[in-house]
C-alpha cells in the first residue's frame, strides 16, 4: 500500500485514502470496503490506484475512479453507482469499464 511517499504492508483495518496505491504479490489478495458501500477485491499480482474517491451526497458531489494497472479485480457497486453511475469508472491501460448497479470481474494483463 502506498500512501503519499510511504510504502507499507497493508494490514487489516488499515484506512485507505484517495490517491493510494494497492499492490498484491504472488500470493497476496485483499479486499476494501468504501464509505459508499462499494466493495472491491484484488487477486494476486495486481496493482490498482484509487485515482479518485469523492462521496458527498448532501452536496451531490460524486467521483469514483479506480485505475488498474494490471491484475484481477472484483468490483461490487455501492451508492455512487446508484446515485451517479456516470461518476464511476474502472480504467485499465487498454480499456475502461462503466457500470450500473452491478458486480464485475476485470483482468488486465501486464
Amino acid at each position: 500500500m502506498t500512501h503519499g511517499a510511504a510504502v507499507a504492508a497493508a494490514a487489516l483495518a488499515m484506512p485507505v485514502y484517495e490517491h493510494d496505491r494497492l499492490e498484491t504479490g504472488g500470493d497476496g489478495e485483499c479486499g476494501i470496503t468504501f464509505r459508499d458501500n462499494t466493495r472491491i477485491a484484488l487477486g494476486p499480482n495486481s496493482r490498482i490506484d484509487l485515482q479518485q474517491f469523492v462521496f458527498k451526497p448532501a452536496a451531490q458531489q460524486y467521483g469514483f475512479i479506480l485505475r488498474m494497472a494490471f491484475g484481477t479485480l472484483e468490483y461490487i457497486s455501492g451508492l455512487t453507482e446508484k446515485l451517479a453511475p456516470e461518476a464511476m469508472s474502472i480504467e485499465t491501460p487498454g480499456f475502461t469499464v462503466g457500470a450500473r448497479g452491478t458486480r464485475l470481474l476485470v483482468r488486465a494483463e501486464k
Partner: protein, 195 residues
C-alpha cells in the same frame, strides 16, 4: 477452405479453454440481481447485461464478441479476488417515537445488535443516517433527524465504539440518500451501516 481454417479456433472457444488474458465478466450480486456494464476500448463499445456475459478486451476488434463465460473458469481464474471479497455492509434500522429522539421500544434489540456488530468487527467504518417524516417543515425535520442521528452515535460511543469511525448524515431537503414520501414510521428512523 476459409471455413476449415476457421474451425480450429471456433472449437477452441467452444471447449472453454479458459478466459482471455484481458477480460471483463458481469456477475450477479449476492442477491442474484444483475446490473449492466459498458466496456470502452478505442472507439468501440461492448455491453454486458446477462449473468456471466463477458468480453475479450485484448484488442478493440475483440470487443464485438460478447460471450458467456464458464462459471468454472471464473471461479478458478479469479479465485484470489473472489476469496478476498469483503462481506456486505450490515445495516440496522432504528425507529423513533414521533417528534422525539426517544427510540421506539421495538428497536431496542436492534440497537444492541448494532453495537455488538460494531464492536465485534475488526475493521470498522460506520455511518449513522437520520431520516425524518415528510410531515412538518424541512427545517424542523432536518434538525430532528440530525438530533436522532446524534443520539444514536452517542449511544454507540457510550458503549465503547470509537467516535472517529462514525460518520453522521441526516435528512436535508435534497439529500438523495434519503428519499421523501415514504410512510411515516419508516421515515422516523436512523440507519446504522457497519462496513
Amino acid at each position: 477452405m476459409t471455413v476449415r481454417a476457421m474451425a480450429p479456433s471456433l472449437l477452441l472457444a467452444l471447449t472453454g479453454c479458459g478466459l482471455p488474458a484481458n477480460v471483463v465478466v458481469l456477475l450477479p450480486d449476492e442477491n442474484g440481481a444483475v446490473g449492466e456494464a459498458v466496456v470502452h476500448e478505442g472507439g468501440s463499445t461492448a455491453e454486458l447485461a446477462k449473468p456471466l456475459a463477458a468480453v475479450d478486451t485484448g484488442a478493440e476488434s475483440s470487443l464485438h464478441n460478447v460471450f458467456t463465460a464458464e462459471r468454472s473458469d471464473v471461479d478458478s481464474e479469479f479465485a484470489g479476488a473472489l476469496e478476498a471479497t469483503p462481506r456486505a455492509p450490515l445495516v440496522f434500522a432504528l425507529y423513533f417515537q414521533t417528534g422525539s429522539t426517544e427510540l421506539h421500544p421495538s428497536s431496542r434489540d436492534n440497537l444492541a445488535a448494532a453495537i455488538k456488530a460494531a464492536k465485534g468487527t475488526a475493521n470498522v467504518d460506520i455511518s449513522v443516517v437520520g431520516h425524518a417524516d415528510a410531515t412538518g417543515s424541512d427545517t424542523y425535520n432536518s434538525a430532528l433527524s440530525l438530533r436522532r442521528a446524534q443520539s444514536v452515535r452517542d449511544a454507540l460511543i457510550a458503549k465503547g465504539v470509537p467516535g472517529d469511525i462514525i460518520e453522521i448524515a441526516y435528512h436535508e431537503a435534497n439529500n438523495p440518500l434519503i428519499p421523501r414520501g415514504v410512510p411515516e414510521l419508516r421515515n422516523r428512523r436512523v440507519e446504522v451501516t457497519i462496513r
